[in-house]
Subunit: 305 residues, 2 copies
């Protein structure tokens, strides 16, 4: 029996780690999710991770490489994790050396999770191998990665394109004002500002982004206002990113991207108000295509470079 | 007589073009300035430029390469000038082809002027060959160029790091609120807001940035306020640039940089307020070292790559 060699992609999140067997065409043939709290509360995060990888390798001996995405800042040489808010114990451990010692002969690479997602779109997305684009992932937080001239852009010290942390005119960052929780919070604020305002959101026992989006799509002015605000803030940040990176194609991923059509008019208004024709004539923002698998696929993509 | 081969560096400005013979160690042995209006009003800008270069080459036959800096946007392949506000007639002409046809056998390269200045600091500045830095030139306008991992960063389509055009919290760009003319304008506004305010600027018949700086250094509160404002705006923009490019060293050039010491406390306040320790622990902004020759030297530097 001929076994095609495969890649183990690992997408490490705040509370869980998703493992996936990825073929070279981007097909994911097997996935498994681990609760990272089990590792942290057991022998330690790295011990748990290494054990889970060893398990996978014994089940799938045709794995050729391992790619990992981390939700934090990495050293410029991609040997260590410098800052990992949700799993602080891993910071400054020699992660890459531990992997290479545990799994000799297997190619290991690691990258920031949002940058992995950009790699995923680059290799496996609907529009493959676009020379230049920015991926913005708006979900719980706001992550971002850029491909410039067919290469992942990491910046001078390795942790660039943190656009969720860019300041807007309000003095707050984009992430502090967008993301799924902020959309719910803002909708509540808007209807509380005027309890007599005619809004269908008043009829709901509890608000969540999916419901707010549905009411916006049904034409509710308060719900629409939430998305107009987020769109305007994202547009403002994109104006500044475009000035720095000179990228004219933006892919939007993450949970908030389902409402891109509600935000796009305000995004484009900012772009056209503040950028000259050189940048705007071919500017577009559209939905990313890989949804929740982007990070996993991008981690696998690290091995394909 | 042994003639060391040399480079012709050309720094094209809004109203004049500066030619310089540059040796490989960065010594400028001969300079000449042309008024570009003479070319535009004569046979045309490119004809005037080509003729002036031909003149230089006949006087200095040991010129090995020609590097040009343009005050505008270039095509990604550096063959054409796309947008040149002060000399619009050059836009979309096949500049590089015209140079190569006119001067066969001589290596020609061109780049944006602020990006040239960054190259100049990289090759010939006080701190040579720094791996990562951002140069900000605050003079009449605000230009910028970045070196990332020892290479000039031009962005996806070739015209990135236009940080003078980034938006601040006021809704205006950095360039609209800083630069030499804006410093004079802002000082006038501040003393007009309160004509009875005790400011030594009231005693001046006319304001200019040099005088305003002198009065700020002598402790005048109104003059100091101007530089605090500009410093705060620059700091705000740098926070966002650092998030995108992950560069921790900034060199400030141009006329306004003489007042860096007056602006630096506010710049650093923005940096430390809005960036975590990862970025701030080795962040510094200091004066660029080449003054008015940075662009010319950087243009010559294009030939050294």
């Amino acid at each position: 029996m001929y076994l095609v060699s495969m890649i183990l992609g690992i997408d490490i999140g705040g509370t869980s780690a998703k493992f996936g067997l990825v073929q070279y065409d981007g097909t994911i043939t097997e996935t498994k999710r681990y609760q990272t709290a089990d590792w942290v509360n057991g022998d330690g995060f790295m011990e748990g991770l290494l054990e889970a990888i060893a398990d996978f390798l014994s089940t799938y001996p045709n794995i050729k490489g391992i790619g990992l995405g981390w939700p934090g800042l990495l050293s410029a040489d991609r040997q260590e994790v410098l800052f990992l808010p949700n799993i602080p114990s891993v910071a400054n451990m020699p992660v890459m050396r531990m992997l290479e010692e545990a799994f000799p002969g297997i190619l290991c690479r690691m990258e920031n999770d949002a940058k992995c997602a950009a790699m995923g779109e680059y290799y496996f997305g609907k529009e493959k191998r676009m020379a230049n684009f920015l991926l913005v992932v708006m979900g719980t937080g706001v992550g971002s990665g850029a491909i410039i001239n067919h290469k992942l852009f990491i910046g001078g010290s390795g942790n660039g394109t943190e656009i969720g942390h860019m300041l807007t005119h309000t003095g707050k960052t984009l992430e502090e004002q967008s993301g799924l929780a902020q959309i719910t919070k803002r909708a509540k604020e808007i209807i509380l500002e005027d309890p007599f305002r005619n809004s269908s959101l008043h009829t709901l026992a509890a608000l969540d982004p999916k419901l707010i989006q549905e009411h916006a799509e049904a034409g509710d002015a308060a719900a629409l206002e939430v998305y107009r605000e987020v769109g305007s803030l994202l547009g403002e940040v994109l104006v500044n990113v475009v000035r720095v990176l000179d990228i004219h194609t933006v892919l939007l991923g993450g949970g908030v991207s389902a409402a891109l059509h509600l935000m796009k008019p305000e995004i484009m208004k900012q772009i056209h108000t503040h950028l000259p024709e050189y940048y705007t004539r071919n500017f577009d923002i559209r939905a990313a295509s890989l949804y929740n698998d982007a990070g996993l696929l991008g981690a696998a993509g690290l091995i394909m470079e």
